[in-house]
């Protein structure tokens, strides 16, 4: 039997006990990350960032500056990695692609009528194809939460599969917008739908809805990834996005990742942070580790 060909009944997705999952998530916050573990973790977190700007007022200038920052996080600190990707609207893909050149930093584009996803399927497909044509390496799509709440799981599934097809070689991140799904049971169900429909990543949030990423919601999704991996042998990547702006919290996410999926996921092929201000906080912490002196934001560039 080839498990991946069997599409499960998503209404039977495993249930999640809220109190239990939150207890488990809070336990990782008790891990005390020190010294070399901390430095390594912070470096890794930097390297996992999808540096993001998703505003109506985004301009070529803004995106170019962001792309510069992506490649030069802090030039006075030798040996720093770059971020993993820059995440922009489709209209900015070309600008970003050019600005990043051959830095190795990926360009991710949000597509499919981001952030609400309230558009006909052909619009979403065209949106995706446009971004891919412009050179996007990765597509961040949103699922149709309304249809999901209506129980039309096949609709959601087919839409993801169609967008995946439109992606070509670009990797597909499927945004569940967990803040609109509300319960962990639904997050789990949506994760399963996305993975079986062909997602390369599952991602928590657009960043436009509160709450965005949280540790427990990420844990639910990591557990879904693990179960999927055991069933199918296929690795899926994870991207919590929104609300992760502190280095310490990023380390908690990495502990969580390490304890649920293990070492093979501990790189930016399999895990990303969708964040804009996280990078500077990590840089401040790295400087503190290096110099032993608490840092000021005035010494770290904002782009």
């Amino acid at each position: 039997m080839i498990a991946t060909k069997t599409i499960p009944d998503f209404s039977l997705s495993p249930r999640v006990d809220q109190v239990g999952i939150e207890e488990r998530a809070s336990r990782v916050t008790k891990r005390s990350i020190k010294n070399e573990t901390k430095v390594n973790g912070l470096m890794l977190a930097l390297n996992m960032i999808d540096l993001t700007t998703l505003e109506g007022k985004d301009t070529d200038g803004k995106v170019k500056q962001l792309c510069y920052k992506a490649q030069h996080l802090l030039d006075t600190y030798p040996g720093l990695p770059t971020v993993a990707a820059v995440c922009v609207y489709p209209s900015m893909v070309k600008v970003a692609k050019t600005a990043l050149g051959n830095s190795g930093i990926k360009v991710a584009a949000v597509a499919t009528a981001f952030p609400s996803g309230q558009a006909p399927r052909d619009v979403k497909i065209r949106d995706t194809k446009f971004a891919v044509d412009q050179g996007a390496d990765e597509i961040d799509m949103v699922i149709s939460r309304g249809k999901f709440h209506m129980g039309e799981y096949n609709f959601v599934f087919d839409e993801i599969a169609a967008v995946k097809e439109a992606c070509g070689n670009a990797r597909l991140k499927v945004i569940l917008e967990t803040g609109e799904l509300v319960t962990y049971d639904k997050v789990r169900r949506a994760s399963d739908i996305a993975m079986y429909a062909g997602a390369d990543f599952i991602k928590t949030s657009t960043g436009k809805i509160s709450p965005a990423a949280t540790l427990p919601v990420t844990l639910v999704m990591l557990e879904a990834i693990r179960d999927f991996y055991y069933k199918t042998g296929k690795k899926i990547a994870m991207k919590p996005a929104g609300g992760i702006s502190k280095a310490k919290l990023a380390l908690h996410y990495l502990v969580l990742l390490n304890e649920v999926l293990g070492e093979e996921w501990m790189n930016n092929e399999w895990f990303r942070f969708g964040a804009s201000s996280l990078a500077n906080d990590i840089l401040m912490q790295l400087m503190k580790q290096k110099t032993g002196v608490y840092q000021s934001a005035d010494y770290f560039s904002i782009d």
Binding site: D17, Q18, V19, G20, V182, T183
Partner: protein, 321 residues
């Protein structure tokens, strides 16, 4: 033992025939049917497996009946019956248990005359006998009412600090082995059985050795009261012989001893340690008094079970009122 009079026939009854009319002496005297006093195990009335008996006499030493001298094997059989009955009895609706206890009281009321008769044979005055039977009936009514109420009084919803629903409720201890008061034929027996079964336990009870008649008749009442067989098992016999087994049987969860003998109390407590039985000693209770009934007697043979379950709490901020 020598018999001085015919067993089971009080003098006054000689003047009565089966219809209760006075015998004018012209008709031939009707020979009265004597009652065989047997033990009560699993809803049946067997004789003791040992075949042994003893004479129950009144204070003057007159023979009242041949009574089963139960053996440890009878006790063993009774425990098996009690264990088998426990699950069903404890799982019954409390309301239903209350109804059955009420039914027992009804049946007692209906056979009041017989109990008064037996008590008088066992040296009570009529007034004493009537008072004892009345109280026995009322005591069952009292405990009938408690069947579906003591849980409410003695339960608790515990406000734990975490997001869990937590509550504690009484549950029956299990199979109770009880040695009823030896100086009382009916009220001591009734007062110890009623709270045990009101709380959902099953039991094996050793009746008064010297005043066993009411116990056997009471078993007949139980047997006609919708009480499932095995919930109450009643043995007659010698306390000293049977008590060690009441205390050390591994399938008995609690021992009740209604007596003041210190070495007996100590022996019961010691042997009960074998499987950590709960031991209740009622040595100062005046069974005819009001203090001899309370829900605390029920609680003496209850365990407290505490249950935890998580409470989901999502979107709390918006759902406030």
């Amino acid at each position: 033992m020598a018999t001085k009079t015919k067993p089971g026939i009080p003098k006054e009854s000689i003047n009565l025939n089966g219809n209760g009319h006075s015998n004018n002496g012209t008709e031939p005297k009707r020979l009265e049917v004597l009652k065989t006093y047997k033990i009560y195990i699993g809803g049946q009335f067997p004789r003791t497996e040992s075949g042994r008996y003893y004479h129950a006499t009144n204070g003057k030493g007159e023979l009242l009946a041949n009574v089963c001298l139960s053996s440890r094997k009878d006790f063993r059989d009774a425990v098996v019956a009690a264990r088998a009955a426990f699950g069903g009895w404890s799982a019954r609706a409390a309301f239903n248990r209350g109804q059955i206890l009420y039914r027992i009281a009804e049946m007692l009321e209906g056979r009041k005359a017989q109990f008064i008769d037996e008590l008088m044979k066992q040296d009570s005055t009529r007034a004493q006998a009537e008072a004892e039977v009345n109280l026995a009936i009322d005591r069952f009514i009292y405990y009938s009412g408690w069947c579906d109420k003591f849980q409410q009084i003695f339960s608790a919803v515990n406000p734990v600090a975490s997001s869990h629903f937590n509550f504690s409720v009484p549950e029956p201890t299990g199979v109770v082995a009880a040695i009823a008061a030896q100086d009382s034929s009916l009220i001591g027996l009734v007062s110890v059985i009623a709270p045990i079964i009101a709380g959902g336990n099953s039991c094996v009870v050793l009746a008064s050795n010297t005043k066993p008649l009411c116990a056997v008749t009471f078993a007949e009442v139980l047997n006609s009261s919708d009480l499932p067989g095995g919930v109450v098992n009643i043995l007659t016999g010698k306390v000293a012989e049977l008590v060690p087994f009441f205390a050390d049987h591994m399938d008995v969860n609690a021992t009740v001893y209604c007596g003041a003998e210190a070495n007996m109390q100590q022996m019961i407590k010691e042997k009960s340690a074998l499987n950590v039985k709960r031991v209740q000693i009622y040595d100062k209770v005046k069974w005819m008094s009001e203090e001899a009934q309370s829900p605390y007697f029920i609680m003496d043979l209850q365990e407290i079970k505490t249950t935890w379950h998580p409470i989901e709490n999502i979107g709390g901020a918006k759902a406030g009122y």
